[in-house]
């Protein structure tokens, strides 16, 4: 074990931790007597600067990752790199929204916890070993429980946090139980080692039990049905910047983990020698073992799309509506996750070459594209809800009445973000969906995935209804109260930038796609 390597590979995490300490130092030391506004702003800006430096550190850490002996613990590049940069950017955006927030007097602590949770996210995104995965997940989750409870004067916030914590603790137990089965089956905690062991021994009922336990654990993190029950309460009760963080950063990290697990089932080498006797088994045994998990994922995906979209129809609280829509979006993305380890084979000379289908790195990149853009849109949506909620005292649909008169900019942001979530072109949400579904169909055009894609598209038609319910109140129905709503200039500027990004990324989808692909396939 080489500590210099470890330091290099964990440079981004280190930067975030240092920034967290710096925030505490400045807030509790230097600015103890300063006004709350100054303290919030300085804490947020130090946090944002930390994220910026950590972004640089992701590139500095390079693609090598970190291994002990032959066992890879932390990966670099590809999924890890994209997800890590995504986590940093989205964390910085949620911190920008904090600048105008007033829910807490402990700004330094809040930002420090955010940065530490984000560091947990970075670890998850790169983890290649069950123990590292678990450490990262706990680091992230514990941060999220605290963030949820951060509005100390709000009973709802405390309630949301305790619910989140209880569900989270239980799902962590499931996950750990599942991991212990994997260890029992394979004698190793490394993802690659587990894959090789299972490829040798073939699928077994015990493996299915392990998969189900793991899906239960991770399904909680991404709020997939039937592990989604915490989401509406948490989204409703948590302070808005914390809810935005849960809806974006935590999702990115968890999906990156799912993608890492999926990718570990791709053949370890790009090509095999045709004369190798083990080849036949290699070809045939990776996919069947994965197919069981894929089936579980597809069932969860279909359930999430149906339950999420249908339950959202009945919501009167916009935060709960966003929670159920998040469930639905998790369902769409799980379709992509289930097809990650699909590959095509062709023979070149005496070698069999594996290729990921599609021109852009297959489903994994499509899911990354989706989760990054979805995360950004969700942050913006929570930002708008927060401003409206602070002005009207409620996040009910009716508090959006006449928003276009009360604050036209905010209404325009809401229009762009919600239409993007519904998947209306030329906004980025549409392109993300198209890209994802095309990748899924390209990997597997069988009747099962075709009908699931059809279900997903039909369900996004359903989703337009509830997004329009909010927009209808903002633009169509008469206002009950026409006093203008003022947003903090920093908040408004952030929201407008998010909306602009959603439009621009939708009009020029190739830019982000090319950037993701630049991390290598």
């Amino acid at each position: 074990m080489n500590y210099a390597d470890l330091f290099r590979a964990t440079l981004p995490e280190t930067v975030l931790e240092v920034a967290a300490l710096l925030v505490l130092l400045v807030d509790l030391g230097l600015l103890r007597k300063a006004a709350l506004k100054t303290r919030v702003a300085s804490a947020a800006w130090i946090g944002i600067a930390g994220c910026g430096v950590a972004w640089w550190a992701v590139y500095a850490a390079g693609h090598a990752g970190f291994s002990v002996g032959s066992e890879l613990l932390l990966a670099g590049g590809r999924i890890a790199g994209v997800a890590q940069v995504g986590i940093l950017v989205l964390t910085a955006v949620t911190l920008l929204l904090l600048v105008g927030a007033e829910f807490t007097r402990n700004a330094g602590e809040y930002v420090a916890v955010v940065l530490m949770a984000a560091a947990g996210g970075l670890i998850i995104a790169a983890a290649q070993d069950l123990l590292v995965i678990f450490v990262g997940l706990e680091l992230l989750s514990l941060g999220l429980y605290i963030l949820t409870a951060f509005a100390k004067k709000s009973a709802k916030s405390a309630e949301a946090s305790i619910k989140y914590y209880l569900f989270g603790g239980m799902s962590a137990a499931f996950l750990l139980f599942g991991f212990s089965y994997f260890y029992g089956l394979s004698g190793t905690t490394s993802l690659a080692g587990i894959r090789d062991a299972i490829a040798r021994s073939g699928p077994s009922p015990l493996l299915d039990v392990a998969w189900i336990l793991v899906v239960a654990g991770l399904g909680f993190k991404i709020a997939a049905v039937p592990f989604h029950l915490w989401a509406p309460d948490t989204y409703e009760g948590a302070p808005a910047p914390a809810a935005a963080f849960i809806a974006s950063v935590s999702k990115v990290a968890s999906f990156a983990l799912l993608l890492t697990i999926g990718s570990s089932w791709l053949p370890p080498q790009k090509s095999f020698d045709l004369r190798a006797s083990e080849l036949a088994r290699q070809l045939h045994q990776y996919n069947p073992a994965w197919a069981h998990l894929a089936l579980i994922l597809l069932i969860v995906a279909a359930a999430s799309m149906l339950v999420g979209n249908l339950a959202a129809l009945a919501q009167v609280s916009v935060r709960r509506l966003l929670a159920y829509s998040a469930v639905a979006h998790a369902g769409y993305m799980l379709l992509g996750v289930a097809t990650v380890p699909h590959y095509s084979i062709h023979v070149e000379g005496s070698a069999v070459v594996f290729q990921i289908p599609g021109n852009m790195g297959g489903s994994a990149n499509a899911v990354l594209y989706y989760i990054l853009t979805y995360g950004l849109t969700a942050i913006g949506a929570f930002g708008v809800v927060d401003v409206v909620e602070r002005a009207t005292g409620s996040d009910r649909l009716d508090s959006f009445l006449g928003l276009h008169k009360r604050n036209p900019h905010l209404a325009a942001v809401l229009l762009v973000l919600f239409l993007s979530l519904a998947g209306i072109p030329p906004l980025v949400g549409f392109w993300a969906k198209f890209n994802l579904f095309a990748a899924v169909l390209h990997a597997d055009a069988g009747p099962v995935s075709l009908s699931l894609v059809a279900l997903a598209i039909a369900m996004s038609a359903v989703s337009l209804y509830y997004y329009l319910q909010v927009l209808k109140r903002a633009y169509v129905m008469p206002a009950a109260d026409e006093t203008p709503i003022h947003a903090h200039p920093a908040t408004l500027a952030t929201l407008l930038l998010i909306a602009l990004a959603v439009v621009l990324m939708g009009v020029f989808p190739a830019v982000l796609q090319g950037w993701i692909a630049s991390f290598g396939a």
Partner: protein
């Protein structure tokens, strides 16, 4: 050059949003300028394109890794429909002259819709076409929900959801066609030459055709149309009937029929004389023609009469498409243009000229108002529009419907017979509405005349006269000299038929 119709419209939408509040007159004149510029470009492009076939306008790689192109082009069909859109936009602005509520926002949504429509007609990449098609959905919702009348929120939501469900069906077809052809390109020409398996085409064709036909008002998925038309503000119902329904029909032709021609092949078995998707959709079209006409005959609301007449007339377009022969398809495209002009005129007279003065659309109430005497301009404009709508010679509807009937006769005379019944009922409902609304024979008593003289209606304004003259004139010119459009349509249809259909 034609591509500028799209850019000008979207730029216009942005400009209108940025206008300061309260500058309603400025917003109107700006809107008229933008719409006229669009029409001028459309006319110039149409004239420049005469005698030319398929012309590529812009072809840039949009998402190179996935083969998505920003490919704008025009053939005769596109040019005719762009021309129609230009006319509809100018007339729509003229008949929205009295909008006082959130005027700049109204025109912003209006031009976002118009831009999307121009885009659909000029896109030759399926992905791009789909993007424009969906861009057109959202503005419709807001136009109806904010500025509409009768049950506007219900109608707007119904229209938005019907459109979105239709486009979801199209999206599935798009994804299947794209992946089945190897995910190389979404250009229409490449997809058409991809050689999709017949078994795939057999199920994708009805899916995509139905998806588009929802917007074309195909029975029994037409129910958004009458409620939507009635609830919409006049300009929006003119656009709905005038161009939006054509988007659906155009998609059926350009995408469903051109990309999945084998979906129209015979199934190999027949039940009750129906042996292919072609028979199914032709039957639905004929039912739509007769059903729409019969329901229009029974309406008490003037605008509903026109709304259902649109369903009936669009049935001719769908029937023309299903003939799959030169003359039938020519007729279908010409009927798109003709109905776009005439239905817009009818909605303008009913929704703007009459309703804004009488504040009722109930035929029973209009019957007591002696409108022929009090609003002679409206009465005579409606007579012209009604004659055109009934399909009398000399107006565009006659040429179009005649061609559809000839085309369908050579395919299946039973279809022609059904459509013929629809024409006769069409005369009946138009005549009934005309008589009840304007020429009632209730003799007014002396005191009624006094009363009416005391309450004169507002004078007819210049935008109304211009708008009516524009539309009636276009219908008359095309009716008297249909070659002006047919010369463009025929080669395009021929190329389309040669490109795969039978």
């Amino acid at each position: 050059m034609l591509a500028w119709t799209i850019y000008i419209s979207f730029a216009g939408a942005v400009l209108e949003v940025l206008l300061p509040k309260g500058k309603n007159a400025l917003a109107r004149w700006l809107a008229l300028a933008i719409a006229t510029a669009g029409l001028a470009i459309g006319v110039a492009g149409f004239i420049a394109g005469m005698g030319q076939g398929h012309v590529e306008i812009v072809n840039a790689a949009w998402v190179p890794s996935m083969g998505v192109h920003y490919l704008l082009a025009a053939d005769g069909i596109s040019r005719v429909l762009v021309l129609l859109t230009g006319i509809a936009a100018v007339a729509g602005v003229l008949f929205s002259w009295n909008i006082e509520l959130r005027t700049n926002q109204f025109f912003a949504f209006f031009f976002a819709l118009i831009g999307g429509v121009y885009g659909v007609f000029l896109s030759f990449d399926l992905f791009l076409l789909f993007v424009f098609y969906e861009i057109a959905i959202v503005p419709k919702y807001f136009l109806i929900a904010i500025w509409g009348s009768t049950r506007r929120e219900y109608a707007a939501m119904k229209l938005a959801l019907y459109s979105f469900v239709g486009s979801a069906m199209v999206l599935i077809g798009l994804l299947v066609a794209y992946t089945a052809s190897g995910s190389h390109s979404t250009a229409l020409a490449d997809l058409a030459h991809a050689g999709l398996p017949v078994s795939t085409q057999m199920w994708v064709f009805p899916l995509v055709f139905t998806g588009f036909a929802i917007l074309a008002g195909m029975w029994p998925l037409h129910t958004w149309a009458p409620t939507g038309h009635v609830a919409a503000p006049t300009a929006a119902s003119m656009l709905l009937a005038g161009v939006v329904m054509k988007l659906g029909a155009y998609g059926c032709l350009r995408v469903a029929i051109a990309l999945f021609p084998h979906g129209l092949d015979r199934w190999g078995f027949a039940y009750l004389g129906i042996g292919s998707w072609r028979d199914v959709f032709a039957l639905l079209a004929v039912i739509g023609i007769i059903y729409g006409a019969l329901v229009a005959l029974a309406q008490s609301d003037f605008k509903f009469v026109i709304g259902y007449s649109s369903v009936s007339h669009m049935g001719f377009v769908l029937l023309g498409l299903m003939t799959l022969n030169q003359i039938g398809l020519d007729g279908a495209v010409l009927q798109m243009f003709s109905h776009g002009v005439i239905a817009g005129l009818l909605f303008a007279i009913v929704g703007r000229i009459v309703y804004d003065r009488t504040h009722t659309r109930q035929l029973a109430e209009l019957e007591t108002m002696h409108l022929a005497r009090r609003l002679p301009f409206a009465a005579w404009a409606f007579v012209i529009a009604a004659v055109a709508s009934m399909g009398l010679p000399g107006f565009s509807g006659f040429v179009a419907e005649l061609q559809v009937l000839i085309g369908s006769w050579s395919t299946n005379p039973l279809w022609t017979a059904g459509a013929g019944i629809g024409i006769i009922v069409g005369v009946a409902y138009t005549w009934r509405a005309l008589q009840m609304a304007f020429f009632s024979d209730v003799v007014p008593g002396a005191h009624v005349i006094e009363q009416e003289q005391a309450h004169t209606f507002a004078a007819i304004t210049w935008p109304e006269v211009t708008g009516v003259a524009l539309r009636a004139g276009v219908s008359l010119v095309v009716g008297l000299y249909p070659r002006i459009l047919l010369d463009s349509i025929e080669p395009a249809v021929k190329a389309l038929l040669a490109g795969g259909v039978q």
